[in-house]
């Protein structure tokens, strides 16, 4: 996407060129593009790992990889997708969109913005290096539970450093976003006039600042347990491995909303644009998002129903978890009500948004099922959980990222993508996603455990279906790459307002494609 700047519109920004331009850029658009390309390459890497997992699970028995490598694949697939693909993708959106949507010239701290991006490639490099260290890659799962984590080789240390760096990057990015949103709005752009995407990122950034440091603390404790004879999690020295799970999930549950909330923001802008109606219940959306964020701190132990908590604690976490479904339901209701009696059209962004709505809701329902303690005791660590979180993270967060890319691409590069191919990308993704993951509900209900390279014979058919779906899904994403490259190379010129229902100020007050520097003079809002 960045390739088109420079020559497409003759704006005189001198300075370094080539790689130096990207190493030193402080422009929010360049940085946004770098985040998105980084995220996409991590998505392909993590996807390749997922395909190793699915290839091994195509048949029972061990055929392709050994169990240690299989465990490493589940570990790094999870870490890379969460920290390398999904989170940076939405930071990329934030960089591109927030200044344009609130009428600011750039982010509040452009130089720090450059740093937060350039921390990512070294972290990714560490995660890749961790595959080739003596002792083999760590096979502990993305949740990094001790005591196993304490017993791994050097790979674990590289992984822990990578998590530290990724955490630093997120915290710096969040500080930038909060400051930009709170201090840099154009005159007249009150908080309650901001496009919802800015609201969701403001809330997400606060969540990140609150929980990424807790994760950093937890992995630091792992590191000192490994090398400096502390015993935070080592029972022999008076520590407790369950303590790690509490600290991890105190971070981990808010983390799942860090992934979901910016996705809600994108959807809240795409649906009104294609329903040609303003978002239903704007302020209730803001309040619902804020209450989801607050509640997300109070439910972490629903990931730990089987560790032997007192029954009162289990009851509390069960009811608190179910409470989150209320604000989430408000949001789904508002999206549906926005479409109600709208004059809808179904271009690719809208298809992905509706796909999101459908599938995310299924994921929310399976979450509610898992929230029920006695049920979860059966389903915990089975494929049902895997199905649940892929419905909310892939069909939720990833689909909304696709919706957002197709929606804003014309604004970013001034050219249209190929609508036919975009729709094809949606349908392939939608069908193969469901093929890959819907059957995993059945596998989980029948008792197939997650993170195990072998399984008993009766699970074979569903696993074969799931593997076929996964390969289809993975290959469809190459089509996405082709669509984007084609749009950049030879896309038709985009009209000023390609979507007639899109009415936030990046569409109404800036030319298409967006100029290199957004609002050098603050616009006057209303």
């Amino acid at each position: 996407m960045e390739a088109v700047h420079g020559h497409d519109h003759a704006h005189d920004h001198h300075g370094p060129t080539g790689i130096m331009k990207y190493l030193t850029t402080t422009n929010h658009k360049d940085i946004g593009s770098m985040y998105l390309w980084f995220s996409f390459s991590m998505f392909l890497l993590g996807g390749a790992m997922a395909l190793v997992i699915r290839a091994e699970l195509f048949q029972p028995g061990l055929q392709i990889v050994n169990p240690e490598f299989f465990n490493a694949m589940t570990t790094y697939h999870g870490l890379i997708m969460v920290f390398g693909a999904i989170m940076p993708a939405f930071v990329g959106f934030a960089n591109w969109l927030i200044p344009m949507q609130i009428g600011a010239p750039d982010m509040a701290f452009p130089r720090m913005n450059n740093w937060s991006f350039w921390l990512l490639p070294p972290a990714a490099l560490l995660l890749i290096l961790a595959q080739f260290t003596p002792g083999g890659p760590a096979g502990v799962g993305w949740t990094l539970y001790p005591p196993l984590t304490i017993q791994q080789g050097m790979s674990m240390d590289l992984t822990i450093f990578a998590v530290h760096i990724l955490g630093m990057s997120s915290i710096m990015g969040s500080i930038n976003i909060i400051t930009t949103v709170l201090n840099m709005r154009a005159p007249g752009m009150t908080l309650m006039k901001m496009p919802l995407f800015c609201w969701t990122w403001l809330i997400t950034a606060y969540l990140l600042i609150a929980v990424m440091p807790v994760l950093a603390g937890a992995v630091t404790m792992l590191l000192t347990d490994r090398h400096f004879d502390t015993h935070f999690f080592n029972p022999a020295g008076g520590g407790d491995p369950v303590l790690f799970q509490h600290i991890f999930w105190f971070f981990g549950h808010p983390e799942v909303y860090i992934i979901a909330i910016p996705a809600f923001g994108v959807i809240s802008q795409v649906i009104p644009a294609f329903a040609r109606k303003p978002l239903f219940g704007y302020s209730s959306m803001v309040y619902a998002t804020a209450s989801i964020a607050i509640l997300s701190f109070l439910v972490w132990a629903h990931h730990m129903y089987t560790v032997g908590m007192p029954v009162q604690a289990q009851l509390y976490f069960m009811f608190a978890t179910m409470l989150i479904a209320v604000p989430t339901g408000v949001k789904v209701f508002n999206w549906v009500a926005t479409m109600w009696k709208g004059s809808m059209t179904f271009e690719t962004p809208m298809l992905f948004a509706i796909g999101f709505l459908f599938l995310f809701t299924i994921g929310g329902f399976t979450g509610l099922v898992l929230a029920i303690t006695p049920v979860d005791v059966q389903l915990h660590d089975t494929y049902y959980v895997v199905a649940h979180f892929h419905y909310v993270m892939v069909a939720g967060a990833l689909f909304s990222a696709f919706a957002g890319i197709y929606f804003w691409l014309p604004k970013w590069i001034g050219k249209m993508y190929d609508e036919g191919l975009g729709k094809l990308h949606f349908w392939l993704s939608f069908i193969f996603f469901n093929l890959a993951f819907f059957v995993q509900h059945f596998l989980g209900l029948a008792g197939m455990p997650r993170r195990i390279p072998d399984y008993s014979l009766q699970f074979t058919d569903f696993n074969m279906v799931s593997t076929i779906g996964a390969f289809g899904f993975g290959l469809s994403q190459l089509l996405f790459l082709y669509i984007i490259l084609k749009a950049i190379r030879s896309g038709e010129k985009a009209p000023q307002r390609p979507w007639e229902g899109a009415d936030s100020i990046e569409w109404t007050m800036l030319p298409t494609p967006a100029p290199y520097h957004s609002f050098e003079k603050p616009p006057v809002i209303r």
Partner: protein, 178 residues
Amino acid sequence: MSTASGNALLLRKLVVIAVAMFGFGFALVPIYKKICETAGIYDLQKADRLVNTQVDTSRTLTIQFDANTRDLPWTFRPLQKSVQAHPGEMVHIVYEVTNTAAVDKLGQAIPSYGPQIAGQYVKKVECFCFARQELRGNETRQMPLQFVVDPQLPRDVSVITLSYTFFELPGGKTRGES
């Protein structure tokens, strides 16, 4: 106030929040211990108080003993493989541990139970697992274990396995001392 100085001020506040939350992660360690203590959640290294000493002669349990070591050049075994006992009855047994290396070693035994639920019903009065064990080179030591199985134990449990694993303590501290 100019935007730039406003931004810098907000930056400082947000950094303080982030640093405080890093500290909070560590503060969770003592908070967790305190909560477990207050809630009376099972502490591995403390003797239990016996409340109900009624012997339930209507059923007999088989209690099996198991012993393992990890990273330690020790041999470790119970002198009896299993006993039969009624719930509520005091059981004494002895474990023997030998340091086969010539150097001194420090170890800590950690219990685990099969089925897991039995853990909360095995009430230990005396156990070598309450303290770390320091063995000189080639020393052999016999260590007592005394416990009662609480008669509240669910009726469908008739066999309990009590397993200990000795972990090496590289000069570390146990909770008993800190």
